[in-house]
Symmetry: C2
Subunit: 401 residues, 2 copies
């Protein structure tokens, strides 16, 4: 019994904020300067799978991420594990389902994999830390708000512990115990909402989110006003737009908040510029498309990088895909697998329509690496297929993409 | 005497704001939502020359700009001329220098020329309207604040009626009579300050300043805070930095205010994006250079377009030029005339130095059209060489550049 290996495997989704989190009021506890709100994406297209095994046989803690062993010295990882060990000690060996939970002083092996390229800048740390926190809660039968645990790995990870539409309440308490995620509506609430991710071809990210946030909080005069005055109002408006499934309001506010997030980045000193000329063209295309229809039918949002995430209703998706592939065609030879995820019927834009958009740029191949079509999805799942063998080492798996 | 033609010719400089003007509180009177402050550039490199002739012989008002006749129906032009005619009527025929001024009910011919490409986006309307206002004041011996007149043609033009360092006080009165330009320091005050203009190769401007300002004032939540709280403080700090010739403070605030101006543009809905990837690289180069020296030695500022204006002290200029031409070399065949204006000795960057900058981009030819080296300059001048002949028609002049 003592030498048994306990293993749990779970998956968790990516989330994309529509009211942006940017800046901490407490670096150690990962407490934000404002509340935020996100959409959880479908795990069929984007998810992390994590297996954690604990055993007295293990000599030390080890972690493999996307088939590569990594250091356990990562401060975010250490913080999360320290918190889990504190909780297991505090909560003793009470077990929810009758089996004896592994002792908190065992070493653990962690193995984690994304079904999408980590380097693409698609919020992989949110899915990763949400998945690790959720898996550890399952393994140790922890009586704790999972979002609170996930938050300590990576702030935005706390929103990936639920499906659908999720807000992260900034909270007021100094210990962070009220800085948790809350589901605004489940994924079933708005089945028509769909998502198109444009992965931009680009140089590597210049400024990490962690450092960028610090610079903005310290130096941007506009940031204080955003946190104190703008975001509280926007949280309410956004929640209402989601509850009422009011797409134009949802879209407008999503774009406005993406714009304002990048505005405070630019207002920082030295300035932070995540958008590039391709992002700019995506913004112009969406703006022209909405203007032509005299209402918001598509929304863009950009995180700390040039990739665009577009939201629209299902009825708009074919036209959107045809427009995007018209202005951002693949390079010759790259047509196969250019549009990934949920399959779409073939649809071409007619040239009369594109003329009406009056865009100031021409179609240019190769500005995007690829496109992912996905939808709103559910929260973390418990899986049966582990990534670690009985020996506690990674099983032969798919090569990293 | 009655059929005499009265002709006056003047020149006026370009100015580049270091605290930005963006947004009107009164469209008709051109009253701004915040004060601004600029540096007047040397007319040897950038200036407008304007000749105005009035005569009873002329059948109608006519205007030629850069060798092309244009419509008199431009509302800004009409507003300025209406104001001049109102003043000439009001002030009667009192003459400052004893000659009888031409009657206000004569038709006028106007001819205006820049010594730089208008399309390059180098604040040509500021120089143009300042020059026209100044010329009309000379012609009619008007007793009026020239800046007040120039302002009604184009807001930023009011700062081009003085040399050196000029602030435009936003004023409080409803009639705009206290919304005027004031010289903070003459051009002789800070002779070491120099200017490098990087003219970026780019598509045409997407959003005109006039329309962009309106969008920002109407839609940006951050704009109100900028006007009410940020700019008043910055005006004081900037004036002090100039009076004390404190380059690092001047440079830091210049960059911060350029950043904030583009931040509120981005915070507008739909967003306005004037900076492009070349602008971004210029910002990164200046940031890395200052970081290496652990103090601000160069400042960038961007107006409503991708062109950069760099400020530095004379001692820094050779190194700056060599760095800029290293990262932004001309396309092959375009080397001649790539660096214009004040001549510079040849200077090369060594590769050790560029390595230390740790920039994430490589030198790329053709991102800039050309570079202009210039300095701080004086205000409008009265010239003797007219652009119009005795017949009131444009003289054969240099072809448009």
């Amino acid at each position: 019994m003592e030498n048994e290996t306990h293993t749990v495997t779970c998956s968790a989704p990516v989330n994309i904020a529509v009211i942006k989190y940017w800046g901490k009021r407490d670096e150690e506890l990962v407490l934000p300067v404002n509340s935020s709100l996100s959409v959880t994406l479908n795990q069929d297209q984007l998810r992390t799978v994590t297996t954690v095994s604990v055993s007295r046989k293990f000599q030390k803690d080890r972690i493999w991420v996307n088939n590569r062993e990594e250091s356990m010295e990562n401060p975010r990882l250490k913080r999360l594990l320290a918190e889990v060990r504190r909780l297991t000690k505090e909560q003793g060996s009470m077990s929810g389902n009758g089996t004896r939970p592994p002792s908190h002083d065992c070493h653990m092996h962690i193995c984690s994999e994304n079904n999408f390229p980590t380097a693409a800048g698609l919020a992989s740390s949110a899915a990763g830390y949400a998945c690790l926190a959720y898996t550890l809660c399952q393994l140790y039968h922890l009586q704790v708000d999972v979002s609170l645990l996930a938050r300590q790995g990576s702030g935005s990870a706390c929103r990936s512990v639920y499906g659908g539409f999720v807000k992260w309440e900034m909270g007021e308490r100094e210990d962070g115990s009220d800085s948790i995620a809350v589901q605004v509506a489940p994924e079933s609430h708005w089945l028509e909402l769909e998502v198109l991710i444009l992965v931009v071809s680009s140089e590597k990210k210049a400024v990490s989110s962690t450092r960028g946030m610090q610079t903005t909080v310290k130096t941007s005069p506009l940031m204080k006003y955003r946190c104190e005055t703008v975001v509280p109002q926007r949280m309410e408006t956004m929640e209402r737009a989601i509850v009422e499934r009011d797409f134009p309001s949802f879209a407008r506010l999503t774009m406005q908040d993406s714009n304002q997030f990048h505005a405070v980045c630019l207002d920082s000193y030295p300035p932070i510029l995540y958008l590039n000329d391709t992002s700019k063209r995506v913004m112009q295309l969406v703006t022209a498309y909405n203007k032509l229809h005299q209402e918001e039918r598509v929304a863009y949002t950009f995180d700390a990088g040039p990739n665009a995430v577009l939201y629209c209703l299902r009825e708009t998706m074919s036209e959107l895909i045809s427009l995007v592939t018209h202005y951002f065609p693949p390079t010759p030879g790259n047509e196969r697998n250019y549009i990934r995820g949920i399959s779409s019927e073939d649809c071409r834009t007619d040239s009369d329509f594109t003329k009406k958009l009056k865009l100031t740029f021409d179609p240019t191949p190769g500005l995007l690496q690829y496109i992912i079509r996905t939808s709103v999805g559910d929260g973390p799942r418990l899986l049966t297929q582990p990534l670690l063998g009985l020996d506690g080492l990674p099983l032969a798996t798919t090569p990293p993409t």
